[in-house]
Amino acid sequence: MRSKKKDEPGFSRRSFLKTVGAGGVAAGVMGPASGVEAQAVRAAGPGAVPIQLNVNGRVHKLDVEPRVTLLDALRTRLDITGAKRVCDRGACGACTVLVDDKTVYACSTLAIEAQGKRIRTVESLTEGTVLHPVQQAFCDRDGLMCGFCTPGFVVATAALLERNPKPTAEQARKALDGNICRCGTYVRVLEAALNTGGRRG
């Protein structure tokens, strides 16, 4: 049901400890003096390491501990707060961002794992002051109430439409099953997903 993001390998906190010692990601972020074994040991309780994140077309340099999630790096280090922390374990989709054009739960992705990848958040969708067609459709159809889940839904919908510009209702439902709304905006969100106009000139 909500397996869209869960079955993508490499995006879990748990897998980090297994892979950090040998992976190319770790080699890119750890200090040059450390050996592979030492890194693995230090990864369990290390201090901050310098990393670079390409977010919305801009490269940010920051120091984070390896345990810091992409979501927390975005929110508390870069003040990019569109993606929300809700369940914090990959069950609700409020933190959905695009990593190399795929929807990803930022709460269940480590910041250091996202290096070298193209990260796009809800903030990237607006062009100047012109809303992305998906954002416009959410506003027009009232696909939002309290709005806390909305950035996640907007990103997931935009990703769906990038892959499949004319989804059926069934395809849209399936694509948005990884996102949870408590206010109950689903009917409007589906209308928005199925009635998003083309990008404005």
């Binding site: 003040d79 929300k84 914090d88 939002l144 409007r188």
Partner: protein
């Protein structure tokens, strides 16, 4: 506060001065009643809206709580020293005093024991792990069954089980039951539901000397100011609470939350702003829930299909020391004789809080299922039984009409008698249920409307938008009154420094805020009329109207000036008009019905809801778009209550086993059926709230539809596959239909 009023009379008792203010006649309304898009939609859709969770203050620290892992224990000691020494920790606080027996106890899992503030969330989490707490673990009560046993340990000072409160009306219930043609007897129950607001409880506290500014995720900026000030022992004038955007509350965020008080204390100690937001597990454990409900009852009907009597023993748990009352019968149908004995059962679990229509969904489920069972006994259409037993029609009691409208929308005529006889495992069924709610205005509501010399307009009112569209509503009413486009006015809300408005609970917000804003805007506009009347050569300012961006003589558009020109006459002095809520622009009481069309697979027990029909009134409809959204949202939350949501406590350890969002199941996109909403406008009644009503009937309608499909009674929620299969097995052992 959310209230439990069963529809008060349509006319609220009068104390406030009667208003001269009126809504414009329906034909003249420009914005009101239309489908107006939310003003804050673009900010929310772009991720620009800054919620409490998103706010960062200069030099801000992050706090975490240490929660009790035990549902019942006495704290013998708390050692903060290791945590305090951790680099990056700026403040640490013990929240239980081991030397005082009365405060040293924890009575539910998740109760706050200690807190730290540190330079990052990660450091704060590390510090929490360094705190050493010595607990004396005490016997706990994890279920109502455990608490009600005679041999149960005495956990609560007041006793684990309260003395029953008895409500008896209409005469001798035993005699009335005895004389009934048919009786239903059974045990009915509903589960504990958690609010699961997506933005957790919490806030950011920043001291400037003895002045505290708190950004809080709350449904009540004024209530939070008062509660926080009281707990801190500081004057209420020293506390300012701000809630610009908030991510859902549903009744759980109406008061001065302990998290905010702890946050303020840490901020004082650390001499820096502190953010404390609960994590998801804490949110499930400590921020409230809908109490469970159990009803063992007998209900009767006579041979003509008139209800005779109902006698109910009810109980439930609101957790540690909290009530669980829900009325039986639900006060829609007329049972001439009724008796209810209710007992509160306390267990070691997080205390309940108001949850969207407190008591109503439980009451509605129990009563509406009984109605269907009685109809089956006398072999009449359950809709017909309902129609025969409704109270007299009133503005806020329109069920007979709505049942007929809803029956048409769901195609009730295709309903088969209980038990779908068609071949195959998929059974189809229909069900229905009614609801009622109060939702009148709060007479203490105040507002302020300013017109500035440059023509800009702002209305300030200390309400908050919890996702219901209140911000848009304030702007709509202001703009309508000024004859200006929506974008030309500002709505300033979500700040306790603005005039008092009640907490957003009990569906009172629209009926409190809209009239007050209307009066403030009229007062401001009339002051402006008085200023421009001489310039227009008009003796009586009351002959002026404001329309389409102009002020002119009524009936003579040429004799006027633009809004901007009019405002220039103010010179350097803005108009600033206060207002207080008055009667006449709002009313009390709603009625509504819902119908469900379901499919049940009797091999797997899985229920799929195909369609929900909703017919609902809410007095004068202010914004058709957001009102419909409110109905859809309530129905979807009711769907979760019907099928999925259930706070599960381990009966041995008292631990919640699903304090997350992968096992505490909320409806997702694929679970949502077709939803058909008919809003009934009552423009002559004035504004009545709509937040609560749509959530009430959904589970009851679904429960009846499931019984109609599978042919056996389903008397408990949620209707999980296990519940459905057990019901089938119980009534038809050894086989299916």
């Amino acid at each position: 506060m959310a209230d439990r009023r069963q529809n008060p009379p349509a006319q609220a008792p009068g104390q406030s001065p009667a208003s001269t203010a009126k809504w414009p006649p329906p034909a003249e309304r420009v914005l009101l009643g239309q489908s107006v898009k939310r003003l804050d939609g673009p900010d929310k859709a772009q991720g620009k809206a800054k919620y409490t969770y998103d706010i960062v203050r200069p030099g801000m620290l992050y706090a975490r709580l240490l929660d009790s892992p035990h549902p019942h224990a006495r704290v013998r000691s708390i050692d903060l020293s290791a945590a305090e020494k951790l680099p990056g920790v700026r403040a640490a606080l013990a929240l239980k005093d081991a030397s005082k027996p009365d405060t040293a106890k924890v009575r539910y899992q998740g109760e706050e024991v200690a807190a730290v503030a540190a330079i990052s969330e990660e450091v704060a989490e590390d510090a929490i792990r360094l705190i050493k707490v010595d607990y004396e673990v005490l016997p706990n009560l994890a279920t109502v069954e455990q608490a009600m046993r005679p041999e149960a340990p005495a956990v609560f000072e007041k006793g684990n089980v309260t003395e029953p409160t008895v409500r008896a009306e209409g005469g001798d219930v035993e005699a009335a039951l005895k004389s009934s043609a048919h009786l239903v007897e059974g045990l009915y129950s509903t589960q504990v539901q958690t609010h699961t607001s997506l933005e957790t409880h919490g806030g950011i506290c920043e001291w400037n000397g003895d002045q505290l500014t708190a950004w809080v995720s709350t449904q009540a900026v004024h209530g939070t100011r008062e509660g926080t000030a009281r707990a801190l022992g500081v004057p209420q004038t020293n506390v300012r609470v701000i809630t610009d955007y908030m991510g859902g509350g549903f009744g759980s965020k109406l008061g001065g939350d302990v998290q905010v008080v702890i946050c303020a204390r840490l901020a004082k100690m650390a001499n820096a702003p502190v953010k404390l937001m609960l994590d998801r597990k804490e949110e499930h454990l400590v921020t409230g829930n809908r109490p469970s409900a159990f009803a063992r009852l007998r209900a009767g009907v006579d041979a003509q299909g008139k209800l005779t009597a109902i006698d109910a023993e009810t109980w439930g748990t609101g957790g540690a020391g909290q009530g669980s009352f829900f009325p039986v019968p639900y006060q829609v149908y007329v049972f001439p004789v009724r008796r209810q004995r209710h007992t509160d059962v306390y267990i070691n679990a997080g205390p309940q809080r108001a949850f969207r229509a407190p008591g109503h969904p439980q009451s509605c489920f129990v009563t509406e299922v009984v109605m269907d069972e009685l109809a089956d006994l006398i072999k009449i259409d359950p809709l017909e039984l309902r129609l025969r037993n409704l109270p007299p029609e009133a503005d806020n009691a329109q069920w007979a009409r709505y049942f007929k409208m809803g029956a048409e929308r769901i195609e009730w005529s295709r309903r088969h008698p209980t038990g779908d006889r068609t071949a195959g495992p998929i059974k189809r069924g229909l069900g229905c249920a009614a609801n009622r709610w109060g939702g009148g205005g709060n007479r203490r509501t105040r507002g302020m409307c300013d017109i500035l010399p440059d023509g800009s307009v702002i209305t300030r009112i200390g309400t908050q938008d919890i996702g219901t569209g209140t911000r848009t509503l304030v702007a709509m009413v202001t703009a309508e009154t000024m004859g200006l486009p929506l974008q030309a006015v500002q709505a300033a809300i979500g700040d306790s420094n603005y005039p008092f408005a009640p907490g957003s609970g009990g569906s009172v917000t629209a009926a409190s805020v809209a009239p007050t804003v209307r009066i403030a805007a009229e007062n401001a506009r009339d002051q402006l009329f008085a200023r421009v009347a001489p310039a227009l050569g008009v003796a009586d300012p009351a002959t002026l109207v404001a329309r389409e961006g102009r002020i002119h003589v009524s009936g003579d558009p040429a004799k006027g000036m633009t809004w901007r020109e009019a405002c220039k006459t103010l010179g350097t002095e803005p108009v600033s008009a206060p207002a207080e809520w008055q009667q006449g622009l709002s009313s009390v009481g709603t009625s509504g019905v819902q119908f469900a069309d379901v499919e049940v697979d009797i091999e797997t027990g899985i229920t799929r809801v195909k369609k929900i029909v909703c017919v609902q009134d809410c007095g004068t409809i202010l914004d058709t778009l957001t009102a419909e959204s409110q109905c859809q949202g309530g129905i979807i939350m009711g769907l979760g209550f019907a099928l999925f949501e259930n706070r599960l406590l381990d009966r041995n350890t008292g631990q919640m086993v699903n304090p997350n969002m992968e096992w505490y199941l909320l409806p997702g996109m694929s679970d949502v059926p077709e939803i058909d909403v008919t809003l009934v406008d009552q423009p002559e009644r004035g504004v009545v709230g709509l937040g609560e009503p749509p959530v009430i009937s959904t589970a009851a309608a679904i429960g009846n539809a499931v019984a109609n499909a599978i042919g056996v009674r389903v008397r408990s929620l949620p209707l999980t596959p296990q519940t459905v299969l057990s019901a089938l097995e119980r009534e038809r052992p050894g086989g299916t239909l």
